[in-house]
Amino acid sequence: MAQANNSQPSYPTREEVDFVIVGSGAAGGVMAKELSVAGFSVVVLEQGPHLQAADFKHDEWGYDVNNDLTWGARKGHPQTFRKTVNDTAETRESVLGYAHNVGGSSVHFSGNFWRFRPIDFIEASVRGPIAGTNFADWPITYDDLEPYYTKVDWEVGVSGLAGPWDPPRSRDYPCPPLPVKSSDVLLERAAKQMGYTPYPAPVAILSQPHNGRPGCIHCGFCNGYGCEVNAKSSSMASMIPLALASGNCELRTGCTVSRVNTDESGRANEVVYWEEDGTEQAQRAKAVVLCANGAETPRLLLASASSQHPDGLANSSGFVGTNLMFNGYSTAVGLFDEPVNAYKSVPATRVMHDFYELDPSLGFYGGGGIDARHFSAGKPMEMALSGGVLGGPSWGSEYKKNLEKEFTHTAAFDGHTTSLPLATNTVTLDPNVQDKWGRPAMRTTYTDHPDDIATMKFFYEKTMELLDVAGATKSAGFYAENGQEGNVHLLGTCRMGNDPSSSVVDKFNRSHDVENLFMVDGSSLVTSGRGQPTMTIMALAFRAADNIIQSARRGEI
């Protein structure tokens, strides 16, 4: 359990620290840094190891099959899935995917960072309610969050180009965009020909040195992999080192949290967890911040049920674990005459948001963004496994011969779209299946709303059209026609709101029910946005930290 070169404090578990943070991911990393730099005593509990740049490899078998980072059933963490409550939940290797390590999924994300736009926060008012959904406004506006988006840009590290395509911003990007890839040139030319406005994709990947970290070396293994040079702005690379350098933060890795306990007055007072060898510990705390992600945070609250909180901790609304949203997705792959080599460098260097809000006259709600990528995220094995994607045999000599062209002469135009919040899409505790610790496994109940599927279909058709205009000699596309059965975007399950009967946390991410308990991560989101939610998650974390610090200094926690 090697630590960074800082000496961390060693807080006794039976003495209160100011804050216990559960999870060191996108939100947890930001929280840890803000609170510890502000002078508070902080213990961070992270179930995974502290993997760093030198630990990462281009290991498809390890990461994508053995799930070395994302830990599934093979590692003692099965999950179950059913489409509706009327179906039997099946055990799967994984359903809600996320990386188990310091930095969480911000270690393996693609790095695409899209700010939400003003419309995202008020869309329910503008569009009107959507029957059968919990479509609602946020309790905050874009203007409330903008200063924190800017903080993410500069402190976490985002590369991009400000322009009329951006939502309003108070400051420029700290780093210029990454060099354009052939896949994006194809998209840009086709998009411009059709009258659209493609622009440099904002990414949490440094194009040049910033904050003491180097610029990207374009190795091509961003998506699903850890960055070997710390150019990708995970919270592990950008926030955790600052937290550890403060001298106030103790990062305990290999620690799996089982429950949050409360005292007789209903305040959270300790966090119970297992160390790697199974020893149970309980860290006392003055306040608790859950940043375990949109799957694990509601799971932990449900597992912390007690006689005071029979439906789960902080769940008087009944909303804990509900409104689970993924984002939607479509892909269209095209074959081109010349080498594209989209497997090199970052996933996407251009994006277009001309279809951010689809015309209501289409008859369904939705919207999204389109970018250009390599169809297997630049990964040889994955590409070969889906070989024959452009027609052609899937094994044998001809299959083998086609592989080179498929790897080097293709570009994929991808749609990233909205998901609606449904009360019936949930994360709950499975009554039958347990994980290696004996905890009830996470059970996902999920069916995409018809509007979500219609939106994915729209983007699939639009990207096939773009491929045609771009000059693809062959093309094939996909979208989840029958609905998605899992995702790595885990959103909405402890949503923010002003009304305690229909939300779990208030507009400062404080639990409505437990005054010293905060939840901030993907679970906080009220609407799904158009994809790439991590930027918003980090901005929310900065904002929540800001308010927590001020409240704590006023003695209000």
Binding site: K57, D59, V65, Y343, G396, E404
Partner: protein, 151 residues
């Protein structure tokens, strides 16, 4: 090939699976699964807690041998001519057995060599993938052209 020992595969399984893999990614103008050592990858990963997959492969192998006997009077799949082998494999193309073999063969071709396959990075070379850790633009034809035209 050489006499490296297998940890979970029997000699017979190794012969048969190697022959199947050689039809999935054949040796022709370029090297295939045989040269890449895919059979060693398969042995390694089956040894890693994959008894269920191993059973699927074993049962599939036996059924293939029954078909070989019935169709061509051969005791083993690996004894057949390539065209005969392809014919039998086409008949089971949709089966979980073939799906698993295809998955393991391809994985064995393109995974990191430390897992036993992709010897001398034969797999990477096949698809024009240089496993380098750093690139500089221009990456491909279209961005080179874009830069030249100052778009």
């Amino acid at each position: 090939m050489n006499n490296e020992a297998f940890s979970v595969l029997s000699e017979e399984e190794a012969q048969e699976f190697k022959a199947i893999a050689a039809r999935i990614i054949p040796t022709d103008e370029t090297p295939g699964a045989t040269e890449a050592g895919v059979i060693y990858f398969i042995d390694n990963v089956l040894a890693d807690d994959r008894e269920a997959e191993h059973e699927i492969l074993y049962n599939g192998m036996r059924e293939l041998q029954v078909a070989a006997a019935r169709g061509f009077n051969a005791a083993y799949f690996f004894e057949l001519e390539p065209e005969q082998q392809d014919q039998l494999l086409r008949e089971v193309e949709e089966s979980p057995f073939f799906g698993t073999m295809r998955f393991l063969t391809i994985a064995g071709m393109f995974s990191l060599p430390e897992y036993g396959g992709n010897r001398d990075k034969i797999g990477y070379k096949l698809i024009g993938f240089e496993d380098r850790h750093a690139w500089q633009p221009p990456y491909g034809s279209y961005d080179a052209d874009y830069a030249e035209r100052g778009e």
